[in-house]
Subunit: 348 residues, 2 copies
DNA sequence: TGTTAGCACTCACTTTCGCTGAGTGCTAAC
DNA sequence: GTTAGCACTCAGCGAAAGTGAGTGCTAACA
């Protein structure tokens, strides 16, 4: 059954008031504060209808109404208007993200700070990763006698390195030879290409350095698989600004969930974003994580050069300023892509 | 004025009871639960003395006593006995730290998790850094046309890298030449050695690549100075397990302080550890940070190979299980040194 | 038939008030 | 010097009463 225009207006008014005040909203307030040209009694009738239809809940008989999950869902799908930032706000926002970044880590943690500052909710930022990366460069350098540094660059531009102990007698020339050999053998391949038989051939070709080769290949494999989908969490304490978390037990439950990167990773894993929309809103139980059933999750995909990608988002109470959060994520998302592009591919 | 043996025993009993229960402790309880062979009335007299001398406070007339900051200070300096872990506990603890670590970041964040799990307080771990590092290796590699990767290794074994855009026409050979030249010029130097005049000479020697040289040197300088003394914070939500933080405003104040890395860095900066002791305990206002005056800070120095060093520690309520915290930090601290040594210098 | 005013009713929240019990300080006796 | 006894204090708890925002229903009005 379709909602009448009037019901939609009333529902919207209720949800927006509730988002602002966190108090159950009553018919009188709607009549007074919104110019609907209706009396409280009429609104009461409509509210009774909306409740019956499942869009509103009542905490108890003599309180006002609050939106149900279904009410929020309808709101974000059909009623919500985008929050529009002023040009100035956008400029400030972008400016606050433009710093001299030396490391990927600092970009990511800076972005999570920015998100949490703008939205006033705890922010989540995933490190960029990729489905199936290929090796672009492999270089071994002798740092000092007995220690070699291995540098791996993937097709997507991710660089990683590792120090490794080697026999004392191995010198610069040997390392260069091994380095060139391995580089030639492995460049352009992805993890799946490195079959056992292929590796056998490689080890045999330079059998006297088998152990070293093995360690290096292991490291390369680890880089290509890059299983650690690390996430950064910023502004976790922001959650305490919301009256629904004044209960210390609830706050503790929330914060200790948030504290664990594993939990967040799992949560992101179970909440994939539809191909054809760039932002996904999960309201309450929709997020599929039982402990977090009374919070909403808003996440966006970002991507860099069409290869690397990850998610950014926020977690907050179901009563959340969805409009503002969505707009913030859009602005930040775009800039993040630009910053990472510049950083990883040197697009200046 | 010296404290009599009996006063010391009573003070210790009060502090330890209070640490356990978080409730003001009364004379009757001390008489009953501790085998001092004294009646409650006698203990009351002694408690009155201790209060007068400044070791105890009274929240209000008809409650028991709680330790004052001075009381805690005396306790940790003179009364506290070390908490002794069983061999099994130590083994478990060490085992939980021994994982396959690929990156410095994961070691650090793992350690901060371990500390917070063992102590049940929020943990702080500083990234290792060093006063004055020298360049050990510099290597530039052309990743693809137009992009060069710079790898810097310092004397202490810290490796950093950066991608940089270069002119299209620069090929492998040119990069190798530049790389060897710069490496020859800069290896063994520290940031202070790179005076303006010395840099001038370098730039002039290969004037046609002046801009590139400049960028590379800038990056090297940044690595050597390594101003970012990053910290990791783990288990922040643990603070909510302590009854003194059931007040939501206090919890918020604490958590939002903790949320900011800047705050923590500043706090660590103002709390140096005395040369001749490896662990420092700052009780309440002693930590010098006004917002954190009702919390205590316990920090330890760790060092790797005598060069790299940093701090680990915890923040908790003044009513803290100091004995256990100190012992935990000692065990963890030692293992951390071993793990980092293995990782950075390949001491297997 | 849709809208509105009026009224009785509900119920969370706040305030008040007295009670309880743990704890203290003082005094007098051992 | 130690202890028993007693009067006094005061936070915390729970019951009771009061307050007010909000609802549902009914009847009258346009």
């Amino acid at each position: 059954m379709e909602l009448s225009e009037r019901k939609r207006l009333i529902l919207q008014a209720i949800i927006e008031d509730y988002i602002q005040t966190a108090e159950p909203v009553g018919s009188r307030n709607i009549a007074k504060n919104h110019d609907l040209g209706l009396s409280a009694a009429t609104i009461r009738n409509e509210m009774a209808d909306l409740e019956e239809m499942g869009y509103l809940d009542k905490p108890h008989t003599s309180a006002g109404r609050i939106p149900s999950e279904m009410g929020y869902r309808f709101y974000v799908d059909s009623l919500m208007q985008r929050y529009s930032f002023t040009m100035e706000e956008i400029a400030n926002l972008q400016h606050s993200m433009d710093r001299k970044f030396m490391r990927l880590e600092s970009v990511i943690s800076e972005i999570s700070d920015t998100i949490s500052k703008v939205t006033n909710y705890p922010a989540i930022v995933e490190m960029p990763s990729c489905q199936k990366s290929r090796l672009r460069n492999l270089k071994m350098m002798l740092i000092e006698r007995g220690i070699v540094l291995i540098v791996v660059v993937t097709e997507e531009g991710v660089v990683r390195n590792k120090r490794m102990g080697v026999a004392e007698e191995i010198d610069y020339e040997i390392i260069d030879t091994i380095s060139d050999f391995l580089s030639g053998q492995l460049t352009g391949l992805c993890a799946d290409d490195l079959t056992a038989s292929r590796l056998m051939l490689i080890y045999e070709a330079m059998a006297q350095y088998g152990a070293l080769l093995k360690s290096v290949v292991e490291f390369v494999l680890d880089c290509l698989e890059d299983s650690q989908n690390r996430v950064y969490i910023g502004g976790a304490s922001n959650i305490l600004n919301n009256p629904e978390f004044e209960n210390i037990d609830r706050a503790r439950k929330f914060l200790s969930f948030i504290d664990s990167h594993e939990n967040i990773t799992k949560m992101l894993g179970t909440n994939e974003i539809d191909e054809n929309e760039h932002i996904s809103i999960k309201i309450g139980s929709e997020n599929g994580v039982e402990e977090m059933n009374d919070t909403s999750l808003v996440i966006a995909n970002y991507s860099v050069g069409g290869k690397l990608h990850g998610k950014i988002g926020i977690i907050g109470p179901k009563r959340m300023n969805y409009a503002r959060v969505v707009s913030s994520l859009e602005v930040i998302n775009q800039r993040l892509g630009e910053i990472l592009g510049k950083m990883l591919y040197g697009e200046d």
